[in-house]
Amino acid sequence: KWSLAIHGGAGTLDPAQMTPDKRAAYEADLQKALDAGSKILADGGSAMDAIKAAIIIMEDSPLFNAGKGAVFTWDGTNELDASIMDGRDRSAGAVAGVKTVKNPILLADTVRTQSEHVFLVGKGAEDFAVSKGFAVTPPEYFATPFRREALERLKAEKLSALDVDHKFG
């Protein structure tokens, strides 16, 4: 017996704003993530491997607010957070405010498995990533026009972050 659930963010959006093309794109990437995790579980693989496989696909998709496609900070950067936990022994790893790691979920898992700590932040987390062989990903990789426009709209219209983010993604 195995089971998998995934999410790509929650929010409030008028269904009329969800065009058929947009909907198809989101559903396709959700399905890819679901299929990747399901295959691992169906083949007898571990829950840890399954969730990482599913999350990596969504981090690599520009549609979701994680990894590539992350929202912009006030300063125009993309700062990423992630955490992971293993129910077998409650081992856990987490990172926050990293800017140079393509797949933060893998860094969180490396904190879990290759350090005596649970939670690393900022430059320290990035230094730890380099020491463990993670490639330094340039900031352009994470930036998408859609998210940049959201930041510009927030600043121009003096909106709060909640005004802009109170929607899908």
């Binding site: 559903e27 607010n65 409650r90």
Partner: protein, 168 residues
């Protein structure tokens, strides 16, 4: 924010969450996603949870751990049962009752109601040791999907359409 939770065929649970945070965030703001117990939690005795939503409220409620604590299995109670003839005996452990999907759903819904009462919104996904894959959210929708060895395989976006959206 994205996340995944799973139960594998060995009976082990896992949870993970990843996010870019909020647009225009300043002052090193961090939400619930990287916080173990708020945005992410996994315990084989209870459940695996990943959350998404207004992080400040999820932190205050401790959403992921709170859900798991509500449905944690009791430790097996063991004791010596003496034999009828009074000579010797054996150890017996009282088994726990399997968690129903309704009870797991109720636990998730109760915690999300608590988030809403404080003024927050968002959603959670969870799986249980019994293999239930559950969603609970108080927004109009949540990008989501679930699959199980029993043949469930679906993705959905808005509320109340769990069975409406198959593979595109």
């Amino acid at each position: 924010t994205v996340g995944a939770v799973a139960l594998d065929s060995q009976g082990n649970l896992a949870a993970g969450t990843s996010t870019g945070g909020m647009t225009g965030k300043r002052w090193g703001r961090v939400g619930d996603a990287p916080l173990i117990g708020a945005g992410t939690y996994a315990d084989n005795r209870a459940c695996a949870v990943s959350a998404t939503g207004w992080g400040e409220y999820f932190i205050r409620v401790g959403v992921a751990h709170e859900i798991c604590s509500k449905i944690r299995r009791p430790e097996p109670q063991c004791g010596v049962v003496e034999s009828d003839d009074g000579v010797g005996g054996h150890v017996e452990c009282r088994s726990f009752r399997a968690l129903s999907q309704e009870r797991a759903q109720a636990a998730a819904d109760a915690v999300m109601a608590d988030v809403k009462e404080l003024g927050g919104d968002g959603g959670v996904i969870l799986v249980t040791p019994e293999g239930h894959a559950i969603f609970s959210f108080n927004t109009t929708g949540m990008y989501r999907g679930r699959a199980t060895s029993a043949g469930v395989r679906e993705v959905a976006i808005f509320g109340g359409e769990e069975k409406a959206s198959k593979t595109p």
